[in-house]
């Protein structure tokens, strides 16, 4: 492609103008920042509210085995435990302030030593299946832990030997910060609004009546979306790094930035196409938000995609951001370049396709406006 100096000036002028417009209309910019932040807040709330079940433990036995059982429960990462008397525990569960009451009977230690069965009482407020199932899974798990701590004297001979595939544990909260980066797709909101605005405010006529080539004008539009999206992505990446959520090392910083740039180009092209097709700010805004959210969730925004149903995984493989997410996950958390060439090729191809779509839609829009 041969680009003249005057075309470059027009591209630069369009970029400069759109950035000034974005600065003058901070609402649109805010929307594209608030959306990913909002998802982060929602996910944090989900983690906080859905993590631990508040449970009262009535310790009728204070023997060492009863204490060990209590410790095993507290290490199960499922309970938020508090000790209470039987009366206090009943009052708490009646008031709906706890999910369950676990009663360790007075003869707990003695019965275990005599190899006799012990009945641990569990009273569940089965209002919420999620919490109820957590209790149903975690108490037997605590019992198993208790037996395993007995060593060779334990009647259970099966023990757990854990081997971790990854070098570090990634918290759900931390994990959600990674796909958050992909929400730079919300940059498609800003680029689509910038494109649609030219038609809605009829300033498209100023562009059409100028001697500037439509090619240069379109390049300027795509570049604006790219620059703002990369800036937003780098901002989120920087914040994530400062907070310790993401820790790429050495060359993996460059890989992360490359993936971000490709995602930004993809979203800018898609945004310009959407804006040029719909040509109205309100429908473009709504469509861009819906599209961004779909892309986010389809790439495993709230869960590990590999654990999702097969059909959902198949659908996700057709979403280019799936590959971006994979590359980012590898680079940021595990300093790995596993399948990186595949991810880059798919992302780069998709970005070019999206830019091509943007150019086609914009050219068609300009031609129809003539």
């Amino acid at each position: 492609m041969h680009i003249t100096g005057s075309s470059l000036r027009v591209i630069w002028a369009c970029l400069k103008k759109d950035l000034k417009s974005a600065r003058s209309e901070p609402l649109y910019t805010l929307v594209s920042i608030i959306l990913p932040l909002n998802v982060l807040v929602l996910m944090s709330l989900l983690v906080i509210s859905g993590g631990l079940a508040p449970t009262a433990v009535v310790m009728q036995d204070s023997g060492p085995l009863a204490q060990q059982f209590y410790t095993a429960m507290s290490q199960a990462h499922s309970f938020m435990l508090q000790q209470a008397t039987a009366e206090q525990a009943d009052a708490l569960i009646e008031q709906g302030r706890i999910v369950a009451v676990v009663t360790i009977p007075a003869d707990f230690d003695a019965l275990i030593r005599q190899n006799q069965s012990v009945a641990v009482g569990v009273k569940i407020n089965n209002l919420n299946t999620d919490f109820t199932n957590d209790i149903r899974r975690a108490i037997p798990d605590a019992i198993t832990q208790l037996y395993q701590q007995q060593g060779s004297t334990s009647p259970i001979k099966v023990t757990l030997q854990e081997q971790n595939l990854r070098s570090q544990d990634i918290q759900l909260f931390q994990y959600s910060a990674m796909p958050l980066l992909l929400l730079v797709v919300s940059g498609l909101i800003s680029s689509s609004l910038a494109a649609a605005g030219e038609w809605e405010t009829r300033t498209i006529k100023e562009l059409l009546l100028s001697p500037a080539s439509s090619g240069a004008i379109i390049c300027g539009k795509v570049l604006t979306g790219f620059v703002t999206t990369v800036a937003l992505g780098v901002l989120v990446l920087g914040a994530g790094s400062l907070l310790g959520w993401v820790q790429p090392v050495g060359v993996y910083w460059l890989i992360v930035l490359l993936i971000l740039a490709l995602v930004a180009l993809f979203s800018a092209g898609l945004g310009v196409a959407l804006g040029a097709l719909l040509q109205r700010i309100q429908p473009v805004g709504s469509a861009a938000i819906v599209l961004a959210l779909y892309l986010f969730f389809l790439t495993g925004g709230t869960a590990v995609l590999a654990f999702d149903p097969g059909w959902l995984q198949t659908v996700a493989t057709f979403v280019p951001l799936y590959y971006g997410r994979h590359a980012l996950e590898m680079a940021m958390f595990y300093q790995s370049s596993d399948q990186l060439p595949r991810d880059i090729v798919v992302l780069a191809g998709s970005a070019l396709l999206a830019v091509g779509l943007g150019i086609l839609a914009m050219r068609r829009g300009l031609a129809d406006s003539r």
């Binding site: 041969h2 417009s21 100028s210 001697p211 090619g215």
Partner: protein, 327 residues
Amino acid sequence: MREEMRQEAPQPYPTETPTVPAIELRALCKAFGTLQAVDHLTLSVEQGEIFGLLGPNGSGKTTTINLISGLATPTSGEVQVMGYDVRRHARRIRQMLGAVPQETALYEELSAWDNLDFHADLFGMARQEKKARITQMLELVQLQERKRSRVSTFSGGMKRRLALARALLHDPHLLYLDEPTLGVDVQSRRAIWDYILSLRDQGKTVLITTNYLEEAQALCERIAILDHGKLIAVDTPEHLKQIYGGSVVELETAQPSAVVDDIRRLPGVKEVIQEGTHMQITTQAGSLVAPQIINLVTGQGELRQIAVREPNLDEIFLRLTGTALRD
């Protein structure tokens, strides 16, 4: 895109030969499906002329303008601007054309300065020239003190003036103004008229479309009247009145006159409107029927007042198109 990228950078237009018409339309046609928006329009606008394009809504004015500026492609016929064929030299023609579209097409969220700065960049103005020229244009339209204000805070008149400054920024040979004073207060309207008249003194060609005949009469050296895409008439406002006008006789009688039918039957009378004791009689051009009208009226009753005047452009327009301009 490749094709367009390869086109030459916008060049300063060459010194045009004054004998070449600023705009030349030959048998120009534009159809949208079955609708003939412009129908075999042949028209020539000389350089340095202020030319008015008049017509009711849907008459083909905007389509004609779009064809001239290369925003639309003719179905058939030719358009030349400063001797250049629009189809082959669209970008060169746009470089020579300054436009004030009806919707002004300003970026409301940007300042006056930023709007002009962007326009200068689109038209490839040299950096060193740009700043001085923007300042000059803002002074011309008296917006220098508001150069950093957002356009959204401007009144309708200020926006029109800014759009005019933008259109003049790259020093175009041909200026097109679509309803230049639409929604503008009387004071600003007068100021804009003065700017437009001063452009003629600078040798610019100005093409105006307007719904205000008073404006056309005040500004335009020649007027073309379009209706249903066809050229109905083209001439100076004075000639139009002479050719299509005739005279208007206005009478005031003591009692409502009973000779209206007799007056209608007189040769040279085109139209008689009676409202109580007031009568307005439109005569054909060159007709000398006024004495006969006076005889008929005075023979029947007392004539209190009589006035004979030239028709205004509204009346000519109504006569030519069968509709008022603002219909």
